[in-house]
């Protein structure tokens, strides 16, 4: 984490662009240099870089992510508000993706080479090659603009309107789930196919177990390992990678916040967000390792 923090700090300051200048030059106007100098002074950007670095590390160690250069809003507070939204989006997408991808993957593996498998695999490769902004825009076009079933995008809090919240969540979650379910589908299909060839499956069948229990207990459970790894990796990437979906659906999550912070060169915000994303990535991998143990008793030893 220290390495990440330091790299982040350095890269941000090497990238050209001055936050004070940018804040005062919205709409293509020229800020007066005196005002820019004044703002730089006020924002603490005139101090030596090393002093800024020391202060930054000290703050991070105390768990304080600092305040935005733009409006002195606490970064920690904003991350705390937006992170759950992105997590919720990713989680909803993951649940949808597993609910679709896993059963279909098993189905395709069991019916390998037959019509169902071929159809599913074709759809899957089609889905995989569709970028989210195309899927998202199509969904908006069909369901919001033409059918007018759902709003074109946006967000309301759980506390204000739970039903409305789910409506807003649905389209971005589906958009991510379409791509993610394909990944899960393909991984499941491959893993199940491999497991089906194993000796213990043959043994189970030989001793007269019904096909259902064989599939459930001996095949799918053993095939879950790689599927889970892939899912976790993808979810980790999605933490910072839902930008396009958040953008297309105006979902006020963490990635959109990160992009805006980078555009405005809001150093404390970028640092705070990336650090939190890194921390979660590490935690996610830990969680997956623990889940392995639950799924596969052999790992526990």
């Amino acid at each position: 984490m220290w390495v990440v923090a330091t790299l982040l700090f350095l890269i941000l300051r090497i990238v050209p662009g001055d936050p004070a200048e940018l804040l005062l030059s919205g709409g293509g106007v020229a800020p007066s240099p005196a005002a820019v100098a004044e703002l730089r002074e006020r924002l603490g950007l005139t101090r030596p870089v090393l002093a800024q670095y020391a202060e930054f590390l000290g703050r991070v160690l105390r768990g304080d992510l600092g305040v935005s250069l733009l409006d002195q809003h606490a970064v920690g507070e904003e991350v705390a508000r937006r992170l759950p939204r992105t997590l919720e989006l990713i989680l909803a997408a993951a649940i949808l993706a597993v609910a679709i991808g896993l059963p279909l993957g098993v189905l395709a593996a069991v019916r390998r080479g037959r019509a169902a498998d071929r159809l599913l695999s074709t759809v899957a490769s089609f889905n995989l090659s569709m970028p989210v902004f195309v899927t998202g825009t199509l969904l908006v076009l069909v369901f919001a603009q033409t059918l007018r079933w759902v709003p074109a995008g946006g967000f309301v809090a759980w506390t204000q309107d739970p039903a409305g919240h789910l409506v807003y969540l649905l389209m971005p979650a589906i958009t991510i789930a379409i791509g993610l379910s394909t990944v899960i589908f393909r991984m499941t299909r491959a893993a199940v196919l491999e497991t089906l060839e194993r000796d213990w499956v043959r043994t189970a069948r030989a001793k007269g177990l019904a096909p259902g229990p064989v599939l459930r207990r001996h095949v799918v459970r053993n095939a879950m390992g790689p599927v889970l790894t892939v899912l976790a990796l993808h979810m980790g990437t999605l933490l910072g990678g839902t930008v396009l979906v958040e953008y297309v659906f105006n979902w006020p999550g963490l990635s959109g916040y990160l992009v805006r912070a980078v555009e405005q060169r809001d150093y404390p915000e970028v640092q705070g967000i990336v650090l939190v994303i890194c921390a979660i990535f590490v935690l996610l991998n830990l969680a997956v390792d623990l889940l392995y143990a639950v799924l596969d008793p052999r790992v526990r030893h």
Partner: protein, 507 residues
């Protein structure tokens, strides 16, 4: 297979059920929803933080003067004003009006606001201009203020009408300013939306017409249009040019567009090829401006072959406005005169972050390739482009902006010298004669004489090719047909359209 049918089935039910609550909410007309192109970085009263912020600021804060929907200066907090002599202006405030915190709007509040704007630590956008112009500000009595200027000024009224010089309550500070505008700030979801509630003590009776306003930021232009079509929002700003035609054809929607902002080229006159005015001229005569209007703005705009003086302005001169026409023969002779008959190489700075900047740069590149000038495009992100522009690290660059007000004095910001380097004017350019004329024009109060002065200044700046105009671009707002009263203001004032939100209602 069964599970799959179940899944699609349940998804449809959820979708259908979810449509109900939204429909009911869309009927309410006590609230107008306005889609902004970006979330305002800050709505501090005197800082210029962009056009989206300006729209919100105009709903919350007001200054001594403002504009009516036709773009004429009118009294806002001031009821009347007169010039005592060349340098002294007297303002009488409306009687009995209050700020949103209940404090009276009086001469002390005006003094307080100007003291803050001109303070040492102030980052006010107009600080420099006011500091250079205002000698004394004296409260005469509770309702009367006297401004004594250092020199006569034809543009002082425009400065006071600027969105960047509102008067705030003396009980508030810049960080948490309380204004006297038609709406007060309510619930805010940072980065997403701002809710505003009508201020019942607004100085114009029976305004605002709508009880509450909601600003939602839709950064994606296509989603902004989709939200309008879906009925999620009532008004959108920055209508993308490619969507203008379909909005015009939609019976439920209305488009209100004016030619306001403009695109132009700035040059590095300190180093590189464009230190030579002949080469700047050659570029000006080489560009196919029609193609820019077509390629970057889908035909929504018009060519700008001179300096940016809007067409409706009394200072508009058709001859000077079309000074540069595409003329390959002229380019050839200019190149030969500059000693480069076979063309030269130059780098053009623009940004890939905004399509209109990139598309404009590409047309410029092609136009110049046709006359043997090889242009290499530099397309960093906006932040980098601004920094490079301010430091003068470029040969020439594409820019797009508006003037501060519909008066030729706006040209000072683009062709005047003695100001510090900025990405929105040519780096290092200065012509003492132009400066003299601009100063003379500012201090001259007779409109006929001002016209003559600015003609001369324009001619000089055009000869120098201090900046090269490319195109006016159409700036559009779109709204539901049911929305009445909201209007796109003319020319450079298009970004002041937020003023008319006080008249807006959905019927």
């Amino acid at each position: 297979m069964k599970r799959r049918t179940f899944l699609t089935g349940s998804a449809t039910t959820v979708l259908a059920a979810s449509a109900l609550p939204r429909r009911a909410g869309a009927q309410a007309k006590t609230r107008l929803v306005f889609a902004l192109s970006s979330y305002p970085p800050s709505i501090r009263p005197w800082q210029n933080t962009g056009t989206a912020a300006a729209t919100v600021k105009l709903a919350i804060y007001r200054g001594l003067l403002g504009y009516d929907p036709k773009g004429e200066v009118r009294g806002e907090l001031a009821e009347s004003w007169k010039r005592e002599n060349d340098r002294t202006w007297i303002f009488t405030l409306k009687s009995g009006i209050r700020f949103q915190d209940g404090e009276p709007v009086n001469a002390e509040a005006v003094k307080y606001s100007f003291d803050q704007m001109l303070g040492d630590k102030s980052t006010a956008y107009l600080k420099g201009q006011y500091a250079a112009l205002v000698d004394k500000l004296e409260p005469v009595n509770a309702r009367t203020v006297r401004f004594v200027l250092k020199e006569p000024s034809a543009t002082f009224g425009y400065l006071l009408a600027s969105v960047h010089s509102p008067i705030i309550s003396p009980k508030s500070s810049e960080a948490n300013a309380v204004g006297a505008g038609p709406y007060r700030l309510g619930d805010v979801e940072r980065g997403t939306r701002l809710d505003l509630e009508a201020f019942d003590g607004f100085h114009r009776k029976s305004r605002p017409k709508t009880k509450s306003l909601r600003f939602i930021a839709y950064a994606d232009e296509n989603l902004r249009v989709a939200a309008l079509r879906a009925g999620d929002v009532d008004i959108i700003e920055y209508v993308p040019w490619q969507s203008m035609e379909s909005i015009e054809k939609n019976p439920k929607l209305a488009l209100d567009a004016v030619d306001g902002p403009f695109m132009y080229l700035v040059f590095n006159t300190q180093q590189g090829p464009f230190t030579n005015a002949k080469l700047r001229q050659a570029v000006a005569y080489a560009i196919r401006r029609d193609d820019i209007v077509k390629a970057a703005f889908f035909g929504r705009g018009s060519v700008l072959g001179g300096l940016p003086i809007p067409k409706g302005s009394p200072f508009y001169d058709p001859e000077l406005a079309n000074y540069w026409k595409t003329d390959p023969a002229r380019v050839k002779s200019l190149l030969a005169e500059a000693g480069m008959p076979n063309g030269f190489k130059a780098a053009l700075l623009s940004t890939a972050q905004y399509g209109m900047h990139k598309d404009t740069a590409e047309v410029v590149q092609q136009s110049l390739a046709a006359v043997g000038v090889q242009v290499e495009l530099q397309l960093p992100d906006w932040a980098t482009r601004v920094a490079l522009g301010n430091k003068g690290q470029y040969d020439f660059a594409v820019m797009g902006t508006v003037g501060d007000f519909n008066d030729p004095d706006s040209l000072t910001g683009f062709v005047g010298s003695g100001q510090t380097a900025s990405y929105n004017r040519s780096f290092g350019y200065g012509n003492a004669k132009v400066d003299d004329l601009l100063a003379k024009g500012r201090a001259e109060l007779d409109p006929a004489k001002r016209k003559q002065i600015y003609r001369q200044a324009e001619r000089l700046a055009l000869d120098d090719a201090a900046m090269v105009g490319l195109a006016w671009r159409s700036q559009g707002y779109a709204m539901q047909k049911s929305v009445k009263g909201f209007k796109n203001m003319p020319g450079f004032l298009t970004f002041y359209s937020g003023l008319t939100l006080e008249d807006a209602e959905a019927v």
